[in-house]
């Protein structure tokens, strides 16, 4: 996977306020989720990638080229901004067609591409109405449509699902997945971690303007050795299972029945999750503990996020 973005000591300051503080990294292709608390520098990074602002220090290369002021690069990049900004008195179709024309397409091709993009965002029925009459979800679809209409090689979206209802959210997730499978590199920022996890395992975590973590979620979780892995179990003979498990040297702690009605609940912390599962399977195969549930409790992106941002 060629790296889509390379940056070296990339920094950006607004006066003393730090937007981004010395980022040196390479971001892979494919679908990547950019996460981080408010004000961590996500929007700043996206704007640097799209070349809307200039780095204060260091450099950044997107698809091998410096983005700021680089007009030709915009033929290969699609950008969906976070702000809800559109030309209120034009129609969705007119906006997408105008931006395609400015993208260098002929009038006929702009027409067909605009229709296709709006079709893909299920906006065909309302595309000729004025944007002022659109709901929040429809405005969001127009913003996404204009970013994919010219089939960019690299698509950047700043919180693409904000304001959408559940139907819209699922549609946009499916669209991004399809684009990813179709070979388009997608980088999108989002605050809704379970949606990011639902779409991709590749994440980039930024906090206070610095890169905190990068890569596939399971690997990132494994790197957090200072946080032993928590596994939750449900079993009819919870205490017997607990006694058996406390014997394994990978197990760091066992909690039984933390709350009254959770008598059959078991929560285990282990440093090496692989060997632990082997030992558990061996035990469970040997003796009937009445296991009804087995789940790793802190492998989700939310858990990793809490550990890193804490």
């Amino acid at each position: 996977m060629t790296s889509v973005i390379q940056c070296h000591e990339l920094g950006r300051y607004y006066g003393q306020v730090v937007g981004l503080n010395e980022l040196t990294t390479e971001l892979p292709g494919g679908v990547v989720g950019l996460v981080g608390p408010n004000g961590a520098g996500k929007s700043t990074l996206l704007r640097l990638i799209v070349g809307e602002i200039r780095p204060s220090r260091g450099w950044i290369k997107v698809l091998g080229e410096e983005p700021f002021g680089n007009r030709e690069l915009y033929r290969r990049i699609g950008f969906c901004p976070q702000q809800d900004a559109l030309y209120e008195d034009m129609s969705g179709y007119e906006i997408v067609r105008l931006l395609l024309r400015l993208g260098g397409f002929s009038p006929q091709e702009s027409r067909t591409r605009a229709e296709q993009a709006l079709e893909r965002l299920t906006m065909t029925a309302r595309m000729h109405d004025r944007v002022a009459t659109y709901s929040k979800g429809m405005r969001q679809r127009i913003r996404i449509a204009q970013s994919i209409a010219h089939d960019p090689a690299f698509l950047v979206l700043d919180e693409p699902m904000s304001g959408l209802d559940p139907l819209g959210r699922r549609e946009v997730l499916e669209l991004l997945r399809a684009l990813g499978q179709g070979g388009t590199h997608v980088l999108f920022s989002s605050h809704i971690l379970y949606e990011v996890e639902h779409l991709t395992a590749e994440i980039v975590l930024i906090h206070r303007g610095r890169l905190l973590a990068k890569g596939a979620l399971p690997e990132v979780r494994a790197l957090l050795s200072m946080h032993p892995r928590r596994v939750e179990l449900g079993a009819r003979r919870a205490r017997d299972l607990a006694r058996a498990l406390i014997g394994c040297e990978e197990v760091v702690s066992v909690r039984v029945g933390a709350t009254a009605e959770a008598e059959d609940r078991l929560s285990i912390e282990t440093r090496a999750v692989g060997p632990f599962f082997q030992r558990l399977n061996a035990l469970a195969a040997g003796e009937r503990f009445g296991i009804t549930a087995l789940r790793s409790a802190d492998a989700s992106l939310e858990a990793v996020f809490d550990y890193l941002i804490a």
């Binding site: 607004y14 007009r71 915009y74 901004p81 900004a85 209120e88 034009m90 993208g103 204009q146």
Partner: protein, 266 residues
């Protein structure tokens, strides 16, 4: 250069008649309509026969129309050309297209300059038509000195175009173009333009005045005579200076617009 003209042409087409869907256009039309309405009232109810004395015509066309309404209409419509895109943050879409940024200023300004010119010339024409009495169709505008009607229209047209370029550029240069524009029109030009002395040459209104009155010296009346002892420029040189101002404003605005990073608040 070809990219610039192509992008400017596309933006010009896209935004040309769109301005009339915005509230700004209706405010501008209302402004332009005021002199016309007043002229109509004066015409219908005025108790002097025949065409009104030239002073009234000059009052309407020069003082009221060219010195106040033309800059105001240009300000209301043109100052938003870039400023609105920035404030509404729709500029992001244009910045992420493979087009030279000056094309945005040029294209959008042209799309506004044309309607401004139309609205103002229509207003000027109506005012002049209204102030001459019906009935004596034969003489029609005969009472007007040779060529005054034409030069009034041209002055209004040039004023509209040059002012709109100035205020469009102001939109790219400053944060609050409306206030800057008002300040320029009523404080800088209103004040400096009427002060005796060579400093008048630094205002657009001087060149407009030169163009309109250089051949019709007598029309300016005694009051103006005292103030503007400064010799008026030749019409051709006045037009040349106006063109220079127009180009200068657009180039400065485009240069600043390209260099400036619009850090849109998150």
């Amino acid at each position: 250069m070809k990219d610039l003209t192509r992008a400017a042409w596309i933006l010009f087409q896209a935004h040309l008649w769109r301005i009339f869907r915005t509230r700004r256009a209706w405010i501008a039309i209302a402004l332009a309509g005021m002199p016309v309405a007043l002229a109509a009232v004066v015409r219908v109810v005025s108790h002097f026969e025949g065409p009104p004395p030239l002073e009234v015509l000059i009052t309407f066309t020069w003082f009221f129309l060219v010195q106040t309404i033309v800059p105001l209409v240009a300000l209301v419509m043109a100052s938003a050309v870039i400023a609105e895109e920035i404030e509404d943050r729709t500029i992001t879409y244009l910045f992420t297209r493979p087009i030279p940024r000056p094309a945005i200023l040029l294209g959008r300004w042209l799309a506004v300059a044309l309607p401004i010119a139309l609205v103002l010339c229509a207003a000027a024409e109506l005012v002049v038509r209204l102030l001459e009495k019906p009935g004596d169709a034969g003489r029609e505008l005969a009472w007007m000195p040779e060529g005054l009607h034409g030069s009034i229209l041209l002055t209004v047209l040039m004023g509209g175009v040059v002012y709109s370029a100035l205020f469009a550029a102001a939109g790219a240069l400053f944060k609050r173009p409306m206030l800057i524009g008002l300040g320029y029109t009523f404080v800088y030009e209103g004040f400096l333009g009427n002060l005796p002395g060579a400093n008048q040459k630094a205002t657009v209104v001087y060149y407009l005045r030169s163009y309109l009155f250089s051949e019709h010296r007598s029309l300016m009346g005694d009051v103006e005579e005292a103030i503007f002892s400064v010799p008026l420029a030749e019409p051709s040189s006045a037009v040349r200076s106006l063109a220079l101002i127009l180009l200068g404003a657009l180039v400065l605005g485009a240069w600043r617009f390209t260099k400036r990073e619009y850090v849109l608040s998150a």
